[in-house]
């Protein structure tokens, strides 16, 4: 066989493999959206779930998902940012920091169900937080920290050393160089990393089943006192999220329209994650433009 034919064959095979991947993805997405989108209505998005009757919604689960996401990011972002800055800007290259990097890598591939069980033993049982938003947010932090730290570290590493030298040569201290030049220059890719990790958190179920719980008690949306257990803001109430809800009704749902609710909730979940992805790109570009010129 000559080189030309081999090349043609290789090209053909690669196209085939790529098409295969695309078809699977499109089919999967299409199936979920076609099954689910017709079920979505304003009523579905806002009303509470019903355990035994048809016509329940996902309002509380949707709110819980966003609230947990917000809390998880609130905790994990500052830590990841600090860790990323330390690892990329301050840490010397030695065995200790090598060990830290390896640990982060191992943690980032930890199955989320393991994170969930760890969260159950540690936050729910040991710290007596119970099945609560707080336990869930901590578990999601454990789940998110390694990935976010890595993505922030990479964003910083992509900023050329020329920029740092320019900062030092202007008389900036190392801290000023980091906060006023390196981080702003890396901000678009940091934001992209944060929003993408938000998508992962939003869709996470296994880490939450044993931490944030599988029940969504009724919420009083007129009560915004975070210390009141029926308030949506209360961090100590159990909070089933959208992803957990989907898992739950598929495994033990007894409402007559379980299939429809599950399909609708899946579509909402997928759409939200897609929106996060588009938002990440859009925000990254916008921010870069805004930071680099008027």
């Amino acid at each position: 066989m000559n080189a030309k034919r081999t090349d043609k064959m290789a090209t053909g095979i690669l196209y085939g493999v790529a098409a295969f991947v695309v078809i699977i993805l499109v089919a999967l997405l299409g199936y979920i959206l076609i099954q689910g989108v017709p079920k979505i209505s304003w009523h579905f998005l806002t009303s509470p779930a019903l355990a035994f009757e048809a016509g329940g919604g996902i309002g509380i689960q949707l709110f819980n998902s966003f609230y947990l996401l917000f809390l998880a990011l609130l905790i994990s972002l500052p830590i990841s940012l600090g860790a990323g800055i330390y690892l990329n800007e301050y840490a010397p290259q030695n065995t200790v920091t090598g060990l830290i990097r390896t640990t982060i890598e191992i943690l980032s591939s930890l199955p989320s169900v393991v994170v969930g069980l760890f969260g159950y033993l540690f936050f729910v049982v040991q710290f007596k937080l119970g099945f609560s938003i707080l336990s869930g947010a901590f578990a999601l932090t454990v789940f998110n920290l390694p990935i976010l730290t890595r993505s922030i570290e990479e964003a910083l590493a992509n900023i050329s050393d020329n920029q740092r030298e320019a900062g030092y040569a202007l008389g900036l201290s190392r801290w000023e160089t980091v906060t006023k030049i390196v981080v702003p220059a890396a901000l678009p890719s940091i934001i992209t990393g944060v929003v993408l990790s938000a998508g992962r958190i939003f869709g996470e179920a296994a880490a939450l089943i044993y931490t944030a719980g599988q029940s969504a008690p009724a919420l009083d949306f007129t009560n915004w006192n975070p210390f009141d257990i029926s308030s949506p803001l209360s961090p100590l109430r159990p909070a089933e999220t959208l992803a957990v809800h989907i898992w739950k009704i598929n495994s033990e749902g007894i409402m007559p329209d379980a299939k429809a609710v599950s399909a609708g909730a899946s579509a909402v979940l997928i759409i939200a994650v897609l929106l996060f992805n588009f938002l990440a790109r859009w925000l990254g570009k916008r921010l870069y433009k805004h930071l680099t010129a008027e």
């Binding site: 020329n162 320019a166 040569a169 201290s173």
Partner: protein
């Protein structure tokens, strides 16, 4: 003429390797001094000793003294942040920050606590004029500095250094990444600045050294071989090595 900067027995080691061997060199106040020599001769390393940029490289040991206005910059009490405001630096690769031209130029001033808009505007105009790029960018001061050509970026970098009004400007092969026309413009910029600043430039380009510098120092293998008025160095060098290098026999 008075000297502004002197090095006494300045040596630098990368680990065990001696990259600079006891350099004694005086720089006069105002004018351009060129540091020439073949690659790896230590001229860039020497330049980076003068504002302590080598501090950032691990495993570097420096002995001897660098005296700037009668103070040893390697004294433990030296504030490197303050030092680098007085001794500015322009690098081989143009490295504007990914912000607007205006923001680049006022960066040092803003950090020094200047927030008065009129003062900043005036500094931008003055610095960009000094760097001979005002006419090219005055209508788009708020465009991204990275949208400029390499030569323009380099002149913005020079303006950025000028804005904080340093005493000395170090240039580390500042034209070697640029095309000949841009290099020429940078050279003219430097010639305009030589009355007001002490400029120390490392260059591979001997024609450039002879065109713009008042004094030239020739380095070889980490040693300062010869330093004199540029005309003397190029027309009538004392040392054989200098003669060999400038006549193109090596390097």
């Amino acid at each position: 003429m008075s000297t502004i900067l002197t090095t006494e027995n300045l040596s630098l080691f990368y680990g065990k390797k001696e990259a600079l061997k006891g350099v004694n060199l005086d720089f006069e106040d105002r004018g351009i001094t060129a540091l020439i020599g073949p690659s790896g001769c230590g001229k860039s390393t020497f330049l980076r000793c003068l504002n302590r940029m080598n501090d950032l490289i691990p495993n570097v040991t420096i002995t001897g003294e660098v005296n700037f206005n009668q103070h040893n910059i390697y004294a433990p009490t030296m504030d490197t942040v303050q030092l680098r405001k007085e001794i500015g630096m322009v690098f081989q690769q143009p490295n504007p920050f990914p912000f607007s031209i205006y923001e680049n130029v006022v960066y040092g001033l803003r950090l020094a606590g200047v927030h008065d808009k009129e003062r900043l505007d005036a500094a931008v105009e003055k610095s960009l004029k000094q760097a001979a790029i005002w006419d090219e960018v005055k209508d788009r001061l708020h465009a991204n500095a990275l949208s400029l050509s390499g030569g323009q970026q380099q002149r913005v970098c020079i303006a950025r250094v000028l804005a904080v009004e340093p005493d000395i400007i170090l240039l580390d092969e500042a034209t070697s990444a640029l095309d000949p026309i841009s290099s020429r413009m940078i050279e003219e910029t430097l010639l305009n600045l030589r009355q007001d600043y002490s400029i120390i430039t490392v260059t591979h380009n001997m024609q450039q050294a002879s065109r713009i510098s008042d004094r030239t120092a020739f380095f070889l293998n980490g040693e300062l071989i010869e330093v004199n008025d540029t005309k003397q160095i190029f027309m009538n060098p004392v040392r054989q090595e200098t003669n060999d290098y400038i006549s193109g026999r090596f390097g």
